[in-house]
Amino acid sequence: MSSTGELMAQKPAATEPPDTVTIPLAIRAGVDISGPVIYLTDKNNLTVEGYLSADLNEKRSLFLGGGYSNYKYSQYNYSYVTNGFFIKAGVDFNLMKPQTAKGKYWAGVGLHYGLSSFSYEIPELSHDNYWGTTTASLPSQSLWSHFIEASPGFRAQLFGNVTIGWSISLRKMIYSGGGKDIRPIYIPGYGLAASSFSSGINYYIIWNFRYKTIKVLIKKDQPEEPEEETTPSTNTGSGNMQNLEP
């Protein structure tokens, strides 16, 4: 089939583009650089994150990501400490045409499921009212949370096996693990837990390891036939109808 396709492509090579395009499939390892950059400006917020993905074909890739977060927050009436790990798994969809992407560019969306295992602690909290100041602390608790994530983004090959890109993460909480009164304010991998929706952005440096190449058939756009050519056939049809009439 492919040889026939190549022959068909070679025959009109002088005037038409080939029918197939060769796409390299790769296994990718990406490291997020936004977490460490944010940590440089905010020492209370460290997130280290990365991912592995494997192309299934020119459109779809399996995605497995993970990371570690250490988050601290304090204000006049309480302090909060959390740390834990998270993993994300799902599928990335490349929405670019294969002949445009060429295995070098990716513009699409990832759909992921996220699972976070973490512990948090409130070392001190205080509350003032008429009777004075009441202080307390809440010991460390371990929790599981899970969420879903849509990650639209863009990646482009920089040179050799190195690609850079970014993605926006739009997350919807499924289960935060907390109770009605005592619940986490930050969940590793999800972000601030105040809302059932959170967002974030990642910038990635990615290494590509090509393991296979495939030939993808290009869907050619059908050229529009000029009206002058279609008009006679219509006329012919109607002419036939007229011929059938007695």
Binding site: Y73, N77, H127, N129, Y130, W131, L138, I168, D181, I201
Partner: protein
């Protein structure tokens, strides 16, 4: 050139979103104290009625009054002592003194990241003297920051 422009646009868009995201700051505008909400009822009519005047303070805290000869007050906001399982109040309705005591449990509650924690209570029981107050009743045990009546004082 066109692809470079597209990439630049994408980078600017992403940067703007990141900037907006990172600059989101919050402030606390919510009620942060869980008061025991005590509605005042005229026993003879059974209707919620403000007494001629009402004064209220914690037992042993005469110099710091919660209400001082307050008029037109139909519901008093009574703060409970979160560091203790009970507290008492001196309540003066139309010049007559009574003592109101409450027994309760206390637990911390997260309001929000910006507001932090407060203490909620569960009322176990109430006791009052009956100089002006005829009776008291609990309508909702859980004392929270919501605007929900907790007890009724009939005078």
């Amino acid at each position: 050139m066109r692809s470079i422009r597209n990439v630049l646009n994408a980078v600017i868009l992403a940067g703007s979103i990141l900037l907006a995201y990172s600059c989101t700051t919050g402030a606390c505008f919510d009620e942060t104290t869980a008061y025991m909400k005590a509605s005042l009822f005229l026993n003879s009519t059974g209707k919620q009625t403000a007494p001629d005047s009402l004064s209220l303070w914690g037992a042993g805290m005469d110099t710091s009054k919660i209400y001082n000869s307050q008029k037109n007050l139909k519901q008093a906001l009574v703060p409970l002592d979160a560091s203790s399982g009970s507290c008492s109040f001196i309540i003066k309705i139309s010049g007559v003194y009574d003592t109101l005591s409450a027994w309760y449990s206390t637990y911390p509650h997260l309001l929000s990241k910006d507001c932090g924690y407060t203490f909620y209570h569960n009322i176990d029981s109430l006791h009052t003297t009956n100089h002006k107050i005829v009776k008291i009743s609990i309508t909702k045990n859980s004392v929270t920051t919501l605007s929900e009546e907790n007890i009724r004082i009939y005078y």
